[in-house]
């Protein structure tokens, strides 16, 4: 079996060939091709700042044709590339490849079409998550709402299959993408799906969304949007312990109510967020549970009293019901500020993104408390309680503690997997969690992942070094002899 040159063929130590850079300039224009060290440094990390790699060149294409030109040039030269949207990801998924090409899509930020009669919107990948909901407002919205929604791009959301606070009820990015235009690693442009559902053939949309930039670059995204609910009722209930709040979550859901959102913050998180936002949350309680019911007015009113009773039965200390839209916004600002606010408690933190079956919440939280104590490091917990997606924040003070903090964060991820969960619920594997992949997946599983990757990108040029725990090459497909594109292009020979 012949192996194709993959990432191993790329020489990370050697500077990019000037001819490749000139090709990028010809495609995108000189002002959109960055090669100065200072400019390259701006892009050396994504939202996960502990990883830094300098790309050989940063290019900012503005059209599908330009993206195609960039990718084709990389294919011809055998140079790996990484696509990046706003760079707000938290797994190092948009970390550049040393001396590779970084394709930044922030210039592709047009809303191409708003088709409300069919409840669709077509956007370029650099459009932000918030801009989508604004474009279809005031009567419709786009449900996936990552906390970074003001800055994060739809292209990045597609790559990561982003979630958010409201996805327990409404679903994730993958449930809303109905069509994509994708530039593949060999420069071919394919259309997957469209405005219609159920296009014939494999669900390549489903395979592409959440593939972390390893299968191609989407240059146009068609999204389903839905009517705003008739009513939204938001409350925060405060409890002595996270266990009590967790019991409330279980009782609400098992009673048949699917809240629009149900979010938990522990004491440390409340302290930090309250310092940052000043919403008037009590800082001496063990847990805050934000519960939002939305939908039909009749249904919400019928369920709301039940939810209040469940809280009271489980010993809620107090319940704050949002008086109006401003009050609701303040409650959500407190929740969404949680990560950023951690700076008020400690100079640094690692955020984790583990998922557990919801019923395992008490035992996993107890395990996290144990780990926190044995490491002597504080762990703040904020999570999407409905779907069991935990965001433990391991607080630490500067470089000397970083290694142990990372070790503690890793132990938390392992506790999630041991409880039957996942290493990542919405941040993605990227570079940061790929070492944990073997905890969830065995060799035949990883081999099947590689089959998909090789179908899309046989030379492994798209975002190499991410997701998979170890680098892999694509073998040739057995079967009738076919000239591989590399042979056709005179780049490789069969032996």
């Amino acid at each position: 079996m012949t192996s194709l040159p993959a990432t191993g063929a790329h020489d990370a130590a050697a500077p990019l060939h000037p001819a490749l850079i000139e090709r990028m300039v010809a495609v995108c224009g000189r002002e959109h091709v960055y090669t100065d060290a200072d400019q390259l440094r701006t892009y050396e990390s994504d939202g996960l700042l502990q990883y830094k790699v300098t790309a050989g060149v940063v290019v900012l294409p503005a059209t599908t044709a330009e993206v195609r030109g960039v990718v084709r040039a990389c294919w011809a030269a055998g140079v790996p590339w990484v696509a990046r949207g706003a760079g707000s990801g938290l797994s190092g998924g948009a970390l550049p490849v040393e001396q590779g090409v970084l394709v930044v899509l922030t210039r592709m930020r047009d809303v191409l079409e708003v088709d409300l009669p069919n409840q669709r919107i077509v956007v370029q990948p650099g459009v932000t998550n918030t801009e989508v909901s604004v474009a279809v407002g005031p009567d419709h919205f786009y449900p996936p709402d990552p906390s970074s929604q003001i800055v994060c791009s739809i292209g990045g959301n597609v790559a990561e299959n982003s979630g958010g606070a409201h996805c327990f009820k409404y679903g994730f990015t993958t449930n809303y993408v109905t069509g994509l235009e994708v530039v593949l690693a060999d420069g071919d442009v394919v259309t997957l799906g469209g405005k219609e559902l159920d296009h014939p053939g494999y669900d390549l949309l489903g395979a592409f969304v959440g593939s972390e930039g390893t299968l191609g670059i989407c240059t146009s995204v068609t999204l389903r949007v839905i009517p705003l609910p008739e009513t939204i009722k938001t409350m925060v209930a405060f409890f002595d312990t996270t266990a009590a709040a967790g019991e409330v979550v279980s009782e609400i859901v098992s009673g048949g109510v699917i809240p629009g959102a149900i979010e938990m913050m522990d004491n440390l998180t409340i302290q930090a967020a309250e310092k940052a936002v000043g919403a008037g949350f009590p800082t001496d309680v063990g847990a805050a549970l934000i519960i939002e019911l939305d939908g039909s007015l009749d249904e919400c009113e019928a369920c709301f009293d039940d939810v209040v009773q469940i809280c009271e039965r489980n010993g809620s200390l107090s319940i704050r019901i949002a008086r109006d839209d401003a009050d609701r916004a303040l409650i959500w600002r407190t929740r969404k500020a949680a990560f950023a606010a951690m700076g008020r408690l400690a100079p640094n933190y690692f955020v984790q993104d583990g998922v557990i079956p919801r019923t395992k919440l008490p035992e996993v939280l107890a395990r996290i408390a144990e780990l926190s104590e044995s490491y002597g490091m504080r762990v703040a917990n904020v999570f999407h309680a409905g779907d069991g997606n935990l965001h433990p924040l391991v607080l630490y003070d500067g470089e000397p503690e970083a290694e142990r903090a990372e070790e503690l964060a890793g132990a938390i991820v392992e506790a999630c997997v041991d409880a039957g969960g996942s290493i990542t619920g919405e941040h993605g594997v990227g570079v940061d969690k790929k070492r944990y992949m073997p905890r969830m997946f065995e060799e035949p599983d990883l081999a099947a992942f590689q089959m998909l990757r090789c179908a899309f990108d046989p030379r492994g040029l798209a975002n190499p070094g991410k997701v998979m725990p170890t680098p892999r090459l694509c073998g040739e497909v057995p079967g009738p002899y076919r000239r591989h594109p590399l042979e056709r292009d005179g780049i490789a020979e069969r032996f």
């Binding site: 009669p117 069919n118 409840q119 009567d139 299959n161 979630g163 996805c167 679903g171 071919d188 394919v190 259309t191 997957l192 219609e196 559902l197 159920d198 296009h199 014939p200 053939g201 494999y202 390549l204 489903g206 395979a207 969304v209 959440g210 009517p227 705003l228 609910p229 859901v253 098992s254 009673g255 048949g256 699917i258 039909s296 009749d298 019928a302 998922v355 079956p357 919801r358 019923t359 999407h384 779907d387 069991g388 997606n389 039957g420 969960g421 996942s422 990542t424 619920g425 941040h427 594997v429 035949p444 599983d445 099947a448 992942f449 998909l452 990757r453 179908a455 997701v467 497909v477 079967g479």
Partner: protein, 389 residues
């Protein structure tokens, strides 16, 4: 498919047994026909197969995690048995295809064919409810992707790739699915009209309202249309009354039906055809609903549709196969470029036209590459799928 009598029937009792069988068949160059209960003889007639693999012996409900609203299922579990088991705990798998609750359809067949019913409006299709998959591949391995928690982005989402793949990539030997609470009550608002454009308008009014619909269907039959809006929840009847008011505001005569199960059973049944007929699934848009109704009427067919999603099923009555081919071609021509996939149809029809219509060329090339990677020996359900995959 070759004459049934010449196929060796195999019903492995373990996932490993399925994988071993596939490997043995791949090694000897034998193709394998993969079936659940055999309720959906769709797609191209396919290549001759030496072995018929049925999943009936893999029929365990492996886990029902009631508190987590998830379940782990073997493919041969029948939807009827699953529904009864989950209903005892007030839960459901929110997929209600034809031949499910009242028929023989299996979990594996449902997912492999991506079939669905009226609940899709609110809860999505199989792809949206499958959390994880374990598949036996023709290289003899068992590959697992996803997990059994409702939120998980670790690794590629092969569960979605396998959903709707018609057994052409491998055999689904286990799936993890998301469950939902059963609504405590249901009620339906309906209105009728004999004008396809008005039917589209009424459906659009409901789809764009803030009403929280469980299902939004239409029906066009014998030159008359009905729109049906179903609600689930403790206040289902109140919500249906609100929908009725909206329909009246839009100028329709509307009613609320609280004992509504028969209405929805008829919608599901409308997705299948009588012996000798054919069903065309139209991947349309809500704004092309009237056109689809007209196309159905011209063909002497009935239509049921998920009005908010734009997907419709046109059921052509029994006719000589050559006439069916002509009718289907006409429906496709009128509704182009909406993909029109032929589901139920006599083998003659599925031979004399491509049941899969025309996928995008680039996408089809990519699909061939996916097939070549997962099943390079073309062992699994060869030639039944798009482009002869």
């Amino acid at each position: 498919m070759g004459p049934a009598g010449t196929m060796r029937r195999e019903t492995p009792g373990t996932a490993a047994g399925v994988a071993e069988l596939l490997r043995a068949c791949a090694d000897e160059g034998s193709a394998v026909r993969i079936e659940g209960a055999g309720t959906k003889p769709w797609g191209r007639p396919g290549a001759d197969c030496a072995v018929a693999l049925r999943t009936g012996a893999l029929d365990a409900i492996v886990e029902h995690n009631a508190g987590d609203l998830t379940a782990v299922l073997q493919p041969g579990v029948s939807l009827r048995v699953l529904g009864e088991t989950l209903a005892a705990g007030g839960q459901m798998l929110a997929l209600d295809p034809p031949l499910g609750a009242g028929g023989a359809a299996t979990v594996g067949g449902l997912i492999a064919s991506a079939d669905s019913g009226p609940l899709r409006h609110r809860y999505g299709a199989p792809r949206d409810l499958v959390l994880g998959v374990t598949a036996a591949l023709s290289d003899g391995t068992l590959a697992h992707a996803g997990g059994k928690v409702i939120k998980n982005v670790a690794g590629y989402d092969l569960a979605k790739l396998f959903a709707g793949s018609f057994g052409t990539l491998g055999v689904i030997v286990e799936v993890a699915v998301r469950l939902h609470p059963r609504p405590p009550a249901q009620a339906t608002a309906t209105a009728t009209t004999d004008d396809p454009a008005r039917l589209e308008l009424l459906a659009s009014g409901l789809a764009h309202s803030a009403l929280e619909l469980q299902s939004l269907d239409v029906r066009w039959e014998a030159q008359a249309g009905t729109v049906l809006a179903r609600f689930g929840g403790v206040a289902a009847a109140d919500q249906a009354a609100a929908a009725r008011r909206l329909l009246v505001e839009l100028g329709a005569e509307a009613a609320v039906v609280e004992d509504d199960e028969a209405l929805w059973a008829a919608q599901r049944a409308g997705q299948r055809s009588a012996e000798g007929g054919a069903v065309v699934r139209v991947s349309g848009r809500p704004t092309r609903l009237a056109a689809a109704c007209v196309a159905a009427q011209v063909a002497g067919a009935t239509l049921v549709g998920r009005a908010g999603l734009g997907v419709s099923w046109i059921a052509l009555p029994a006719a000589p196969p050559g006439d069916l081919v002509t009718s289907i071609a006409r429906v496709r021509k009128v509704l182009a470029p909406s993909p029109c996939v032929v589901l139920d149809a006599p083998a003659y029809v599925r031979t004399h036209l491509d049941p899969w219509d025309h996928p995008d060329d680039g996408a089809l090339a990519l699909m061939r590459r996916v097939k070549a990677r997962f099943d390079p020996t073309a062992t699994c359900n060869p030639a039944v799928f798009v482009g002869g995959i």
